[in-house]
Protein backbone atom coordinates (compact mmCIF):
# COMPACT_ATOMS: atom_id res chain seq x y z
CA UNK A 1 0.00 0.00 0.00
CA UNK A 2 1.31 3.43 -0.95
CA UNK A 3 -0.20 6.78 -0.08
CA UNK A 4 0.82 10.19 -1.41
CA UNK A 5 -0.59 13.50 -0.25
CA UNK A 6 0.26 15.75 -3.14
CA UNK A 7 4.03 15.35 -3.52
CA UNK A 8 4.60 14.09 0.00
CA UNK A 9 4.86 10.32 0.27
CA UNK A 10 3.23 9.37 3.57
CA UNK A 11 3.35 5.60 3.19
CA UNK A 12 5.66 3.90 0.68
CA UNK A 13 4.99 0.33 -0.47
CA UNK A 14 4.08 -0.76 3.04
CA UNK A 15 2.89 -4.35 3.33
CA UNK A 16 2.11 -6.40 6.42
CA UNK A 17 -0.52 -8.65 7.92
CA UNK A 18 -2.02 -8.40 11.40
CA UNK A 19 -3.02 -11.68 13.09
CA UNK A 20 -6.10 -12.31 15.23
CA UNK A 21 -5.83 -13.42 18.83
CA UNK A 22 -2.87 -11.23 19.76
CA UNK A 23 -2.18 -7.55 20.28
CA UNK A 24 -0.06 -6.16 17.47
CA UNK A 25 1.77 -2.94 18.19
CA UNK A 26 2.28 -0.40 15.43
CA UNK A 27 5.37 1.62 16.21
CA UNK A 28 7.04 4.53 14.55
CA UNK A 29 8.26 8.02 15.26
CA UNK A 30 5.90 10.93 14.74
CA UNK A 31 5.23 11.44 11.07
CA UNK A 32 6.15 7.85 10.15
CA UNK A 33 2.76 7.22 8.54
CA UNK A 34 0.96 5.40 11.35
CA UNK A 35 -2.19 7.53 11.30
CA UNK A 36 -2.27 7.53 7.50
CA UNK A 37 -2.12 3.74 7.49
CA UNK A 38 -4.93 3.56 10.01
CA UNK A 39 -7.11 5.97 8.02
CA UNK A 40 -6.74 3.79 4.94
CA UNK A 41 -7.75 0.71 6.96
CA UNK A 42 -11.06 2.41 7.76
CA UNK A 43 -11.47 3.52 4.15
CA UNK A 44 -11.30 7.21 5.09
CA UNK A 45 -8.34 7.70 2.76
CA UNK A 46 -7.92 5.80 -0.47
CA UNK A 47 -4.41 4.36 -1.01
CA UNK A 48 -2.65 5.85 -4.03
CA UNK A 49 -1.85 2.26 -4.94
CA UNK A 50 -2.43 -1.05 -3.24
CA UNK A 51 -5.27 -2.22 -1.05
CA UNK A 52 -6.17 -2.80 2.56
CA UNK A 53 -8.14 -5.93 3.48
CA UNK A 54 -10.18 -6.20 6.65
CA UNK A 55 -11.38 -9.75 7.37
CA UNK A 56 -10.79 -10.69 3.77
CA UNK A 57 -12.57 -7.80 2.11
CA UNK A 58 -12.19 -4.10 1.55
CA UNK A 59 -13.86 -2.34 4.48
CA UNK A 60 -16.18 -0.15 2.42
CA UNK A 61 -17.82 -3.26 0.97
CA UNK A 62 -18.78 -4.55 4.40
CA UNK A 63 -22.49 -5.09 5.09
CA UNK A 64 -22.15 -4.74 8.87
CA UNK A 65 -19.13 -2.43 9.09
CA UNK A 66 -19.17 -1.83 12.83
CA UNK A 67 -19.12 -5.58 13.53
CA UNK A 68 -16.09 -5.95 11.27
CA UNK A 69 -13.96 -3.04 12.43
CA UNK A 70 -13.94 -0.66 15.36
CA UNK A 71 -11.51 2.21 15.02
CA UNK A 72 -10.23 5.01 17.24
CA UNK A 73 -8.41 7.67 15.26
CA UNK A 74 -5.86 10.01 16.75
CA UNK A 75 -7.68 13.14 15.63
CA UNK A 76 -10.82 14.18 17.47
CA UNK A 77 -13.85 12.73 15.70
CA UNK A 78 -16.77 13.99 17.77
CA UNK A 79 -19.20 16.93 17.49
CA UNK A 80 -18.51 18.89 20.67
CA UNK A 81 -22.08 20.13 21.00
CA UNK A 82 -23.60 16.67 21.25
CA UNK A 83 -23.73 14.62 24.46
CA UNK A 84 -21.51 11.56 24.66
CA UNK A 85 -24.52 9.26 24.74
CA UNK A 86 -26.22 10.88 21.74
CA UNK A 87 -22.94 10.72 19.83
CA UNK A 88 -22.71 6.98 20.42
CA UNK A 89 -26.43 6.52 19.78
CA UNK A 90 -26.21 8.19 16.36
CA UNK A 91 -23.28 5.97 15.39
CA UNK A 92 -25.01 2.85 16.72
CA UNK A 93 -28.21 3.52 14.78
CA UNK A 94 -26.43 3.46 11.41
CA UNK A 95 -25.62 -0.21 11.93
CA UNK A 96 -28.88 -1.13 13.63
CA UNK A 97 -27.30 -1.41 17.09
CA UNK A 98 -29.82 -0.82 19.90
CA UNK A 99 -29.54 1.75 22.67
CA UNK A 100 -28.99 -0.92 25.34
CA UNK A 101 -25.65 -1.61 23.71
CA UNK A 102 -24.83 2.10 23.85
CA UNK A 103 -25.34 2.11 27.62
CA UNK A 104 -23.28 -1.07 27.90
CA UNK A 105 -20.19 0.43 26.24
CA UNK A 106 -20.60 3.67 28.21
CA UNK A 107 -20.51 1.56 31.37
CA UNK A 108 -17.47 -0.38 30.10
CA UNK A 109 -15.36 2.71 29.43
CA UNK A 110 -16.46 4.31 32.68
CA UNK A 111 -18.26 7.36 31.30
CA UNK A 112 -21.68 6.74 32.88
CA UNK A 113 -21.47 9.81 35.13
CA UNK A 114 -20.78 12.16 32.23
CA UNK A 115 -22.72 10.47 29.40
CA UNK A 116 -25.21 13.33 29.21
CA UNK A 117 -22.54 16.03 29.09
CA UNK A 118 -21.41 17.65 25.88
CA UNK A 119 -18.44 15.82 24.39
CA UNK A 120 -16.81 19.22 23.83
CA UNK A 121 -16.40 19.65 27.59
CA UNK A 122 -14.45 16.38 27.92
CA UNK A 123 -10.83 16.19 28.98
CA UNK A 124 -8.43 14.43 26.62
CA UNK A 125 -8.62 11.25 28.68
CA UNK A 126 -12.43 11.25 28.66
CA UNK A 127 -12.35 11.90 24.92
CA UNK A 128 -10.11 8.85 24.46
CA UNK A 129 -12.55 6.74 26.47
CA UNK A 130 -15.44 8.01 24.33
CA UNK A 131 -13.51 7.14 21.18
CA UNK A 132 -12.79 3.65 22.50
CA UNK A 133 -16.49 3.26 23.36
CA UNK A 134 -17.38 4.15 19.77
CA UNK A 135 -14.87 1.63 18.45
CA UNK A 136 -16.36 -1.16 20.58
CA UNK A 137 -20.06 -0.44 19.83
CA UNK A 138 -20.37 -3.04 17.11
CA UNK A 139 -18.55 -5.83 19.00
CA UNK A 140 -15.96 -5.73 16.20
CA UNK A 141 -13.75 -8.58 15.03
CA UNK A 142 -10.93 -6.12 14.34
CA UNK A 143 -10.05 -3.32 16.77
CA UNK A 144 -7.76 -0.55 15.51
CA UNK A 145 -6.68 2.13 17.96
CA UNK A 146 -4.41 5.07 17.14
CA UNK A 147 -2.44 6.17 20.23
CA UNK A 148 -5.15 5.06 22.68
CA UNK A 149 -3.21 5.91 25.84
CA UNK A 150 -2.53 9.52 24.84
CA UNK A 151 -3.83 11.80 27.54
CA UNK A 152 -4.86 8.99 29.88
CA UNK A 153 -3.90 8.94 33.55
CA UNK A 154 -1.90 5.91 34.86
CA UNK A 155 -5.11 4.16 35.89
CA UNK A 156 -6.49 4.71 32.38
CA UNK A 157 -3.29 3.44 30.77
CA UNK A 158 -3.52 0.24 32.80
CA UNK A 159 -7.19 -0.12 31.88
CA UNK A 160 -6.42 0.21 28.15
CA UNK A 161 -3.55 -2.28 28.44
CA UNK A 162 -5.76 -4.89 30.15
CA UNK A 163 -8.69 -4.25 27.81
CA UNK A 164 -6.54 -4.74 24.72
CA UNK A 165 -5.16 -8.02 26.04
CA UNK A 166 -8.66 -9.20 26.93
CA UNK A 167 -9.98 -8.29 23.47
CA UNK A 168 -7.15 -10.23 21.84
CA UNK A 169 -7.76 -13.22 24.11
CA UNK A 170 -11.30 -13.34 22.75
CA UNK A 171 -9.82 -14.01 19.34
CA UNK A 172 -10.09 -10.49 18.01
CA UNK A 173 -7.47 -8.80 15.90
CA UNK A 174 -6.08 -5.90 17.93
CA UNK A 175 -3.85 -3.35 16.21
CA UNK A 176 -2.59 -0.47 18.32
CA UNK A 177 -0.27 2.35 17.39
CA UNK A 178 2.10 4.16 19.67
CA UNK A 179 5.27 6.16 19.49
CA UNK A 180 6.24 4.80 22.91
CA UNK A 181 8.24 1.56 22.71
CA UNK A 182 7.97 0.84 26.42
CA UNK A 183 4.17 0.96 26.35
CA UNK A 184 4.08 -1.44 23.42
CA UNK A 185 6.50 -3.85 25.09
CA UNK A 186 4.02 -4.21 27.95
CA UNK A 187 0.95 -4.64 25.78
CA UNK A 188 1.83 -6.18 22.44
CA UNK A 189 2.93 -9.64 21.36
CA UNK A 190 3.87 -8.70 17.83
CA UNK A 191 5.34 -5.50 16.45
CA UNK A 192 5.11 -3.67 13.14
CA UNK A 193 7.70 -0.87 13.10
CA UNK A 194 7.65 1.78 10.40
CA UNK A 195 9.66 4.89 9.68
CA UNK A 196 9.09 7.45 6.94
CA UNK A 197 6.39 5.27 5.47
CA UNK A 198 8.64 2.21 5.14
CA UNK A 199 8.39 -1.08 6.97
CA UNK A 200 11.39 -1.39 9.31
CA UNK A 201 10.47 -4.48 11.30
CA UNK A 202 7.69 -7.04 11.39
CA UNK A 203 8.65 -9.19 14.34
CA UNK A 204 7.69 -10.49 17.76
CA UNK A 205 8.25 -8.31 20.80
CA UNK A 206 10.54 -11.03 22.18
CA UNK A 207 12.79 -10.93 19.15
CA UNK A 208 12.79 -7.17 19.23
CA UNK A 209 13.77 -7.16 22.88
CA UNK A 210 16.70 -9.51 22.19
CA UNK A 211 18.10 -6.88 19.87
CA UNK A 212 18.58 -4.79 22.95
CA UNK A 213 21.98 -6.49 23.45
CA UNK A 214 24.72 -5.71 25.91
CA UNK A 215 26.80 -2.74 24.97
CA UNK A 216 29.86 -3.35 27.12
CA UNK A 217 30.65 -3.19 30.80
CA UNK A 218 31.65 -0.19 32.86
CA UNK A 219 34.37 -0.89 35.44
CA UNK A 220 35.54 1.36 38.25
CA UNK A 221 38.81 0.45 39.86
CA UNK A 222 41.70 2.31 41.57
CA UNK A 223 44.04 0.10 39.50
CA UNK A 224 42.34 0.84 36.23
CA UNK A 225 45.49 1.08 34.13
CA UNK A 226 46.72 -2.34 35.29
CA UNK A 227 43.33 -3.94 34.66
CA UNK A 228 43.19 -2.35 31.20
CA UNK A 229 46.46 -4.01 30.22
CA UNK A 230 45.29 -7.41 31.47
CA UNK A 231 41.93 -7.18 29.74
CA UNK A 232 43.52 -6.16 26.44
CA UNK A 233 45.37 -9.45 26.33
CA UNK A 234 42.09 -11.37 26.15
CA UNK A 235 40.85 -12.23 22.65
CA UNK A 236 38.12 -9.95 21.27
CA UNK A 237 38.18 -7.45 24.07
CA UNK A 238 38.30 -3.70 23.60
CA UNK A 239 38.99 -1.16 26.32
CA UNK A 240 38.35 2.54 26.49
CA UNK A 241 39.57 4.50 29.46
CA UNK A 242 36.76 6.88 30.31
CA UNK A 243 38.57 8.48 33.24
CA UNK A 244 41.49 7.72 35.57
CA UNK A 245 39.56 5.09 37.46
CA UNK A 246 36.86 4.14 34.95
CA UNK A 247 37.09 1.71 32.05
CA UNK A 248 34.56 0.81 29.40
CA UNK A 249 35.11 -2.78 28.26
CA UNK A 250 33.51 -4.33 25.19
CA UNK A 251 33.55 -7.98 24.11
CA UNK A 252 33.75 -9.44 27.61
CA UNK A 253 31.03 -10.22 30.11
CA UNK A 254 31.12 -8.77 33.59
CA UNK A 255 31.79 -12.32 34.91
CA UNK A 256 34.95 -12.59 32.76
CA UNK A 257 36.20 -9.18 33.86
CA UNK A 258 35.49 -9.93 37.50
CA UNK A 259 37.42 -13.20 37.23
CA UNK A 260 40.45 -11.50 35.64
CA UNK A 261 40.47 -8.90 38.40
CA UNK A 262 40.17 -11.49 41.19
CA UNK A 263 43.02 -13.62 39.72
CA UNK A 264 45.27 -10.54 39.66
CA UNK A 265 44.29 -9.08 43.04
CA UNK A 266 42.85 -5.97 41.50
CA UNK A 267 40.27 -4.10 43.55
CA UNK A 268 36.97 -3.39 41.81
CA UNK A 269 34.43 -0.90 43.18
CA UNK A 270 31.91 -1.13 40.35
CA UNK A 271 31.13 -3.57 37.57
CA UNK A 272 28.07 -2.60 35.49
CA UNK A 273 26.86 -4.22 32.26
CA UNK A 274 25.40 -1.48 30.01
CA UNK A 275 22.22 -2.71 28.38
CA UNK A 276 20.62 -0.70 25.64
CA UNK A 277 17.01 -0.22 26.55
CA UNK A 278 14.05 -1.08 24.36
CA UNK A 279 13.77 2.59 23.70
CA UNK A 280 17.40 2.55 22.46
CA UNK A 281 16.71 -0.43 20.20
CA UNK A 282 13.74 1.41 18.80
CA UNK A 283 15.73 4.61 18.38
CA UNK A 284 18.57 2.75 16.61
CA UNK A 285 16.10 1.11 14.24
CA UNK A 286 14.26 4.25 13.36
CA UNK A 287 17.21 6.60 13.59
CA UNK A 288 17.46 7.22 9.86
CA UNK A 289 13.75 7.56 9.36
CA UNK A 290 12.82 10.29 11.78
CA UNK A 291 11.44 13.35 10.08
CA UNK A 292 12.55 15.85 12.65
CA UNK A 293 15.52 14.87 14.73
CA UNK A 294 16.72 17.11 17.49
CA UNK A 295 20.22 17.43 15.97
CA UNK A 296 18.66 18.77 12.80
CA UNK A 297 16.82 21.25 14.91
CA UNK A 298 20.08 22.15 16.59
CA UNK A 299 21.69 22.68 13.21
CA UNK A 300 18.82 24.92 12.30
CA UNK A 301 19.20 26.79 15.52
CA UNK A 302 22.92 27.25 14.87
CA UNK A 303 22.33 28.33 11.31
CA UNK A 304 19.82 30.95 12.35
Amino acid sequence: MTKHYGKKVAVDALSFEVQPGIVTGFLGPNGAGKSTTMRTIAGLDEPTSGRVWVNGQEYHKSRVPMAELGILLEAKSVHGGRSARNHLLALAQTNGIDSKRVDQVIEFVGLRQVARQHAGSFSMGMGQRLGIAAALLGDPQVVVLDEPVNGLDPEGVLWVRNSLKALANEGRTVFVSSHLMTEMALTATHLIVIGRGHLIADTTVEEFVSRAKTRGVTVRSPDAAMLANLVKMTDGAGVIADADDILHVEGLTSEQIGTIAWQNHIRIFELTPQRSSLEDAFMQLTHDSVDFRSEQLEELAVAS
Binding site: R39, A42, H60, V64, P65, S77, G81, F108, G138, L167
Partner: protein
Protein backbone atom coordinates in the same frame (compact mmCIF):
# COMPACT_ATOMS: atom_id res chain seq x y z
CA UNK B 1 -12.77 -13.54 29.72
CA UNK B 2 -14.91 -13.96 26.62
CA UNK B 3 -18.15 -12.01 26.35
CA UNK B 4 -17.44 -10.43 29.71
CA UNK B 5 -15.08 -7.86 28.23
CA UNK B 6 -17.38 -5.85 26.06
CA UNK B 7 -20.42 -8.08 25.67
CA UNK B 8 -22.09 -8.93 22.41
CA UNK B 9 -23.73 -6.48 20.11
CA UNK B 10 -26.50 -7.39 17.71
CA UNK B 11 -25.26 -5.18 14.87
CA UNK B 12 -27.68 -5.74 12.01
CA UNK B 13 -26.00 -3.83 9.21
CA UNK B 14 -26.25 -0.53 7.40
CA UNK B 15 -29.49 0.33 5.60
CA UNK B 16 -30.78 3.69 4.36
CA UNK B 17 -33.63 3.83 6.95
CA UNK B 18 -31.10 3.20 9.74
CA UNK B 19 -28.81 5.96 8.51
CA UNK B 20 -31.85 8.27 8.27
CA UNK B 21 -32.66 7.43 11.91
CA UNK B 22 -29.06 8.22 12.85
CA UNK B 23 -29.12 11.53 10.98
CA UNK B 24 -32.38 12.43 12.73
CA UNK B 25 -30.66 11.77 16.06
CA UNK B 26 -27.76 13.99 14.99
CA UNK B 27 -30.05 16.83 13.85
CA UNK B 28 -32.18 16.87 16.99
CA UNK B 29 -29.26 16.66 19.43
CA UNK B 30 -27.41 19.86 18.58
CA UNK B 31 -28.48 23.30 19.69
CA UNK B 32 -27.83 24.99 16.33
CA UNK B 33 -30.82 23.18 14.80
CA UNK B 34 -33.27 24.71 17.26
CA UNK B 35 -31.57 28.08 17.17
CA UNK B 36 -31.58 28.46 13.37
CA UNK B 37 -35.17 27.18 13.05
CA UNK B 38 -36.35 29.53 15.79
CA UNK B 39 -34.65 32.48 14.09
CA UNK B 40 -36.14 31.50 10.72
CA UNK B 41 -39.68 31.23 12.14
CA UNK B 42 -39.37 34.44 14.16
CA UNK B 43 -37.97 36.41 11.20
CA UNK B 44 -40.58 35.04 8.80
CA UNK B 45 -43.60 35.82 10.95
CA UNK B 46 -42.14 38.92 12.62
CA UNK B 47 -41.04 40.69 9.45
CA UNK B 48 -44.25 39.74 7.61
CA UNK B 49 -46.41 41.04 10.47
CA UNK B 50 -44.40 44.25 10.81
CA UNK B 51 -44.58 45.13 7.11
CA UNK B 52 -48.26 44.22 6.97
CA UNK B 53 -49.03 46.43 9.98
CA UNK B 54 -47.16 49.43 8.60
CA UNK B 55 -48.67 49.19 5.13
CA UNK B 56 -52.20 48.61 6.46
CA UNK B 57 -51.85 51.65 8.69
CA UNK B 58 -50.79 53.81 5.72
CA UNK B 59 -53.37 52.32 3.33
CA UNK B 60 -55.82 55.25 3.47
CA UNK B 61 -53.08 57.61 2.18
CA UNK B 62 -52.12 55.34 -0.75
CA UNK B 63 -52.58 56.40 -4.38
CA UNK B 64 -54.77 54.29 -6.68
CA UNK B 65 -51.67 52.66 -8.16
CA UNK B 66 -50.32 51.80 -4.69
CA UNK B 67 -53.69 50.37 -3.71
CA UNK B 68 -53.76 48.22 -6.83
CA UNK B 69 -50.33 46.95 -5.86
CA UNK B 70 -51.49 46.04 -2.35
CA UNK B 71 -51.35 42.25 -2.17
CA UNK B 72 -52.41 40.71 1.17
CA UNK B 73 -50.93 37.27 0.34
CA UNK B 74 -47.61 38.76 -0.71
CA UNK B 75 -47.43 40.58 2.64
CA UNK B 76 -47.97 37.32 4.52
CA UNK B 77 -44.78 36.08 2.81
CA UNK B 78 -42.68 39.25 3.12
CA UNK B 79 -40.44 37.71 5.80
CA UNK B 80 -39.25 34.82 3.62
CA UNK B 81 -36.35 36.81 2.16
CA UNK B 82 -34.72 37.16 5.57
CA UNK B 83 -35.91 33.83 6.95
CA UNK B 84 -34.16 31.92 4.18
CA UNK B 85 -30.84 33.15 5.56
CA UNK B 86 -31.37 31.17 8.77
CA UNK B 87 -32.58 28.15 6.79
CA UNK B 88 -29.44 28.33 4.66
CA UNK B 89 -27.23 28.40 7.75
CA UNK B 90 -29.08 25.36 9.13
CA UNK B 91 -28.48 23.50 5.87
CA UNK B 92 -24.79 24.36 5.58
CA UNK B 93 -24.11 23.51 9.24
CA UNK B 94 -25.80 20.12 8.90
CA UNK B 95 -22.86 18.95 6.83
CA UNK B 96 -20.01 21.42 7.42
CA UNK B 97 -20.11 20.85 11.19
CA UNK B 98 -19.19 17.20 10.49
CA UNK B 99 -15.96 18.44 8.98
CA UNK B 100 -15.23 21.26 11.44
CA UNK B 101 -15.68 18.92 14.42
CA UNK B 102 -14.07 15.82 12.89
CA UNK B 103 -17.35 13.92 13.33
CA UNK B 104 -17.18 13.01 9.63
CA UNK B 105 -14.45 10.46 10.42
CA UNK B 106 -16.74 8.68 12.87
CA UNK B 107 -19.71 8.96 10.51
CA UNK B 108 -17.88 7.53 7.50
CA UNK B 109 -16.14 4.81 9.51
CA UNK B 110 -19.63 3.67 10.59
CA UNK B 111 -21.05 4.01 7.06
CA UNK B 112 -18.06 3.35 4.79
CA UNK B 113 -20.25 3.38 1.67
CA UNK B 114 -20.52 7.11 2.41
CA UNK B 115 -23.36 8.16 0.07
CA UNK B 116 -26.17 7.01 2.43
CA UNK B 117 -24.90 9.71 4.83
CA UNK B 118 -25.50 12.41 2.21
CA UNK B 119 -28.91 11.07 1.13
CA UNK B 120 -30.02 10.73 4.75
CA UNK B 121 -28.96 14.24 5.70
CA UNK B 122 -30.80 15.64 2.67
CA UNK B 123 -33.95 13.70 3.59
CA UNK B 124 -33.86 14.57 7.30
CA UNK B 125 -33.06 18.26 6.81
CA UNK B 126 -35.48 18.50 3.85
CA UNK B 127 -38.45 17.00 5.69
CA UNK B 128 -37.74 19.03 8.85
CA UNK B 129 -37.47 22.31 6.95
CA UNK B 130 -40.56 21.55 4.85
CA UNK B 131 -42.75 20.80 7.88
CA UNK B 132 -41.51 23.82 9.86
CA UNK B 133 -41.81 26.10 6.81
CA UNK B 134 -45.33 24.95 5.97
CA UNK B 135 -46.53 25.61 9.51
CA UNK B 136 -44.70 28.96 9.55
CA UNK B 137 -46.20 30.07 6.23
CA UNK B 138 -49.71 29.21 7.44
CA UNK B 139 -49.24 30.94 10.80
CA UNK B 140 -47.79 33.98 9.04
CA UNK B 141 -50.80 34.04 6.71
CA UNK B 142 -53.33 33.96 9.54
CA UNK B 143 -51.42 36.48 11.65
CA UNK B 144 -51.09 38.99 8.80
CA UNK B 145 -54.72 38.55 7.72
CA UNK B 146 -55.79 39.16 11.31
CA UNK B 147 -53.79 42.41 11.23
CA UNK B 148 -55.48 43.38 7.94
CA UNK B 149 -58.96 42.37 9.10
CA UNK B 150 -59.85 45.64 10.97
CA UNK B 151 -59.06 47.49 7.71
CA UNK B 152 -61.14 44.98 5.72
CA UNK B 153 -58.13 44.29 3.51
CA UNK B 154 -57.72 40.60 4.39
CA UNK B 155 -58.33 37.70 2.01
CA UNK B 156 -59.54 34.16 2.73
CA UNK B 157 -57.11 31.23 2.47
CA UNK B 158 -59.58 29.72 -0.01
CA UNK B 159 -59.27 32.68 -2.38
CA UNK B 160 -57.97 31.89 -5.85
CA UNK B 161 -54.27 30.91 -6.00
CA UNK B 162 -53.61 31.60 -2.31
CA UNK B 163 -53.00 28.05 -1.09
CA UNK B 164 -50.70 27.29 -4.03
CA UNK B 165 -48.69 30.38 -3.31
CA UNK B 166 -48.35 29.48 0.36
CA UNK B 167 -47.24 25.87 0.12
CA UNK B 168 -44.85 26.46 -2.76
CA UNK B 169 -42.96 28.91 -0.50
CA UNK B 170 -42.44 26.02 1.91
CA UNK B 171 -41.13 23.98 -1.04
CA UNK B 172 -38.79 26.84 -1.96
CA UNK B 173 -37.33 27.02 1.57
CA UNK B 174 -36.86 23.25 1.47
CA UNK B 175 -34.94 23.60 -1.80
CA UNK B 176 -32.77 26.32 -0.23
CA UNK B 177 -32.01 23.95 2.66
CA UNK B 178 -31.09 21.09 0.30
CA UNK B 179 -28.79 23.31 -1.78
CA UNK B 180 -27.08 24.43 1.43
CA UNK B 181 -26.66 20.89 2.82
CA UNK B 182 -24.96 20.01 -0.45
CA UNK B 183 -22.83 23.19 -0.32
CA UNK B 184 -21.66 22.19 3.17
CA UNK B 185 -20.71 18.73 1.89
CA UNK B 186 -19.08 20.08 -1.24
CA UNK B 187 -17.02 22.86 0.38
CA UNK B 188 -16.46 21.09 3.75
CA UNK B 189 -16.39 24.45 5.49
CA UNK B 190 -19.01 26.43 7.39
CA UNK B 191 -17.58 29.78 6.33
CA UNK B 192 -17.23 28.69 2.72
CA UNK B 193 -20.73 27.25 2.57
CA UNK B 194 -22.47 30.21 4.15
CA UNK B 195 -20.59 32.82 2.14
CA UNK B 196 -21.29 30.98 -1.12
CA UNK B 197 -24.97 30.82 -0.21
CA UNK B 198 -25.09 34.51 0.76
CA UNK B 199 -23.12 35.45 -2.36
CA UNK B 200 -25.49 33.68 -4.73
CA UNK B 201 -28.76 34.51 -2.98
CA UNK B 202 -28.09 38.01 -1.62
CA UNK B 203 -25.15 39.57 -3.47
CA UNK B 204 -25.68 38.37 -7.03
CA UNK B 205 -29.19 39.91 -7.44
CA UNK B 206 -28.20 43.58 -6.79
CA UNK B 207 -25.14 43.17 -9.04
CA UNK B 208 -27.31 41.71 -11.80
CA UNK B 209 -29.68 44.65 -11.38
CA UNK B 210 -26.83 46.97 -12.45
CA UNK B 211 -26.71 45.33 -15.90
CA UNK B 212 -28.72 46.85 -18.77
CA UNK B 213 -32.28 45.76 -18.12
CA UNK B 214 -32.67 43.62 -21.25
CA UNK B 215 -29.74 41.40 -20.18
CA UNK B 216 -30.23 41.89 -16.45
CA UNK B 217 -33.89 40.87 -16.36
CA UNK B 218 -33.38 37.69 -18.33
CA UNK B 219 -30.55 36.63 -16.00
CA UNK B 220 -32.34 37.82 -12.88
CA UNK B 221 -35.35 35.57 -13.20
CA UNK B 222 -33.14 32.48 -13.26
CA UNK B 223 -31.06 33.43 -10.22
CA UNK B 224 -31.86 30.91 -7.46
CA UNK B 225 -33.14 33.63 -5.12
CA UNK B 226 -35.66 34.91 -7.70
CA UNK B 227 -36.87 31.65 -9.25
CA UNK B 228 -39.79 31.31 -6.89
CA UNK B 229 -39.76 34.63 -5.02
CA UNK B 230 -39.30 36.83 -8.10
CA UNK B 231 -42.70 36.08 -9.66
CA UNK B 232 -41.14 36.29 -13.14
CA UNK B 233 -41.42 32.55 -13.71
CA UNK B 234 -44.59 30.56 -13.15
CA UNK B 235 -44.75 28.88 -9.73
CA UNK B 236 -44.06 25.45 -11.19
CA UNK B 237 -41.28 26.64 -13.47
CA UNK B 238 -39.66 28.44 -10.52
CA UNK B 239 -39.76 25.34 -8.33
CA UNK B 240 -38.45 23.20 -11.19
CA UNK B 241 -35.51 25.54 -11.89
CA UNK B 242 -34.63 25.56 -8.17
CA UNK B 243 -34.81 21.77 -8.14
CA UNK B 244 -32.39 21.77 -11.07
CA UNK B 245 -29.90 23.92 -9.14
CA UNK B 246 -30.30 21.66 -6.12
CA UNK B 247 -29.66 18.58 -8.26
CA UNK B 248 -26.45 20.06 -9.67
CA UNK B 249 -25.00 20.92 -6.25
CA UNK B 250 -26.11 17.59 -4.76
CA UNK B 251 -24.44 15.65 -7.58
CA UNK B 252 -21.23 17.64 -7.15
CA UNK B 253 -21.33 16.98 -3.39
CA UNK B 254 -21.94 13.26 -3.95
CA UNK B 255 -19.00 13.01 -6.34
CA UNK B 256 -16.67 14.75 -3.90
CA UNK B 257 -17.87 12.68 -0.93
CA UNK B 258 -17.52 9.39 -2.81
CA UNK B 259 -14.22 9.95 -4.56
CA UNK B 260 -12.01 12.05 -2.30
CA UNK B 261 -10.36 11.34 1.05
CA UNK B 262 -12.48 12.27 4.05
Amino acid sequence: MSAATIGHSPALGVTLPRVIKSEWTKLRTVRSTYFTLLVAVALFIGVSALITAVRAHRYHGFSAAQRADFNPVQMALAGIVVAQLAIGVLGVLAFSSEYSSGMIRSSLAAVPRRLPVLWSKLIVVGVTVFVVSLVTVLVSFFVTQAILSPYHLNVAITSAGTLNKLWTRAVYLTEVALICVALGALLRSTAGGISTFVGVFFVLPPITALLPSDIGNSIMKYLPGSTVLGDNLSLWAGIAVMAGYAAIVVIAAAVRLQWTDA
